[in-house]
Symmetry: C2
Subunit: 222 residues, 2 copies
DNA sequence: CGGGCTCCTGACGAAGCGTCAGATATCCTT
DNA sequence: AAGGATATCTGACGCTTCGTCAGGAGCCCG
C-alpha cells in the first residue's frame, strides 16, 4: 500500500540494511545538526558537507541515512506532526458559546502563532517544498492540520444543525479557509509590520473572524 | 536613494551600458522563454543554459541582462504588479451594502482566484523566494497587494465610523488578514481537494467572511 | 584472536554556474 | 559605400557542489 521507504516500523539505511545502535546514534546526530544549522543558515545554503562536518562525520555517511537534505528535514517535520494535537484540544475544550468561546478563539490564534514561531525554521521549508510541488511535504502539512480542521468543521456543523448558520454554509470549506488563514498569517506575521500592523492586532482580528465563522454570532465585546 | 540597478527609467545591461534595439529584443526574447518554460518546468529545474538555448542564444548573453534566473523572474513579476489595480476597482465599485456589497465580495474572491490561476507559475516563485527571505520579491508582493489592502481598510474604517464595528476592530489588521486569506487560499485552492472541498465552496466561504469582516453584518441570504 | 558484519571515509566524475577574451553584427560618419 | 566605433554575442573555462563507491576501520561473538 504505502511505500516501504519511510515505513513507520523499520528504519532503513541507503543500502537497505537496518541500522544498529551506532548507526541510529549517527543518524540522530545528523538530524540534530540539521535542525540546529537550519535555524542559523538559510535553507538554500545548507550543504550536506557542512552538516556532516558539523556532526563530526563525512558526506558519504549522510547519504547513508538520507537521500538529500530535504529528506532529513522531512524527517524533522515528521516528528513535529504529532504536536498538531495541541490545536484540537483547544477547539474541543469549550462549547464555543459566549465569552468562553471567544477565549477559545483567542487561544487558538495564540497557539498557531506560537507554534509557527517555535517551528518556523522547519515549517518554512515545508511551505517551500509544497510550493515546489513536493507531495511528501504536502502530506506532512495535511497530517499536521487535518485534526484541527476536522474538529473545527465538526463544531461548525453542530452550530449549523442548531440553526445558527444558513444552509449555504459548508462546514468543511469554512474550517479549511480558517485553518489556512491561521497558518498563513502566523507564518508571515512579521511581514505585516510593513503596514504597521502588530502581532497583537492580528491575533484579535483572527480570533474575531474565527468566532464569527464558527458560531455565526458577533464576538462578545471586551 | 533606491539602487540604480532596476531603475524604472534606464535599463542597464551587466556591463553598465544602456541596451539598444537589438539588445532589448534579445532581453525580451529571454523573458518570454523564461515565462514559457516556467509554466512547463519546475522552477528548480530551470537552467540558464536551457533558457538561453530555447531563446536561440548562449548563456553568456543571458547573464548580460540578468544576474540569475531569479532576477529574470523578478522582472516578470514586476510586470504583473500593475494589474493589482483590478482588485481595487472591485473594492471601490459599490458601497458594500446589502446584496450589491455581497456581490462585490464574491467578485473579489473570483478575481483573486482567477488572478492566481492565471499567474500561478510566477506567483509560486514569488512566494517561494519570500519564504527564502528575498526582500526583492517581498517588495513585489507588497506592491501588488498594497492598493487593495488600503482600499479595503478604508471601507472598513468607514463602516467603523458609522458604528457598525466595535472600537476594538483595527481596519488595517482586518484588511491585512483578509488579503492574506484571499491570496493564500487562491494560491492553494487545489490542495483543498484532499478534504473534498471544491473551489466554488471556497469562493462562497471567503466572500461570506469578507462581507462580514468589512460590513459587520451577516451576508444576505441567497 | 580472527572472521564477519556494521559503519565510515574521502577522493572522484558529473553537472551547473558565472566569467571573459575574442568574434561578429550593427550603426554612423564622411 | 567603406571603414571605424560601438553594441552584442559566443562558447569554452575554472570553480563549486553534488552524490557515489571502493575500500578501510570499528565492533561483536564464537
Amino acid at each position: 500500500m504505502a511505500t516501504d521507504e519511510e515505513g513507520s516500523e523499520e528504519l532503513r539505511a541507503a543500502d537497505g540494511r537496518v541500522p544498529g545502535r551506532r548507526g541510529r546514534a549517527t543518524r540522530h546526530r545528523l538530524l540534530d545538526c540539521t535542525a540546529q544549522m537550519l535555524r542559523a543558515t538559510s535553507y538554500r545554503d545548507l550543504k550536506v558537507v557542512d552538516i556532516a562536518r558539523e556532526a563530526g562525520t563525512s558526506p558519504g555517511t549522510f547519504y547513508q541515512y538520507f537521500a538529500d537534505v530535504e529528506s532529513a528535514i522531512l524527517a524533522l517535520a515528521d516528528d513535529m506532526v504529532g504536536q498538531g494535537h495541541r490545536f484540537v484540544e483547544i477547539v474541543e475544550s469549550t462549547s464555543w458559546r459566549g465569552r468562553a468561546g471567544y477565549a477559545s478563539a483567542l487561544a487558538l490564534a495564540d497557539e498557531f502563532i506560537g507554534f509557527w514561531d517555535e517551528h518556523q525554521a522547519v515549517l518554512r521549508v515545508v511551505d517551500l517544498a509544497i510550493d515546489e510541488g513536493d507531495g511528501r511535504f504536502a502530506n506532512v502539512r495535511t497530517r499536521l492540520l487535518n485534526e484541527v480542521n476536522n474538529a473545527l468543521a465538526a463544531v461548525i456543523a453542530d452550530h449549523k444543525k442548531q440553526g445558527r448558520h444558513p444552509p449555504e454554509v459548508d462546514p468543511m470549506a469554512t474550517a479549511g479557509v480558517l485553518v489556512a488563514m491561521l497558518a498563513h498569517v502566523s507564518s508571515h506575521h512579521f511581514g505585516f509590520e510593513f503596514w504597521g500592523v502588530r502581532t497583537g492586532d492580528l491575533r484579535t482580528t483572527m480570533a474575531r473572524i474565527l468566532y464569527w465563522s464558527v458560531t455565526g454570532q458577533k464576538p462578545p465585546t471586551t
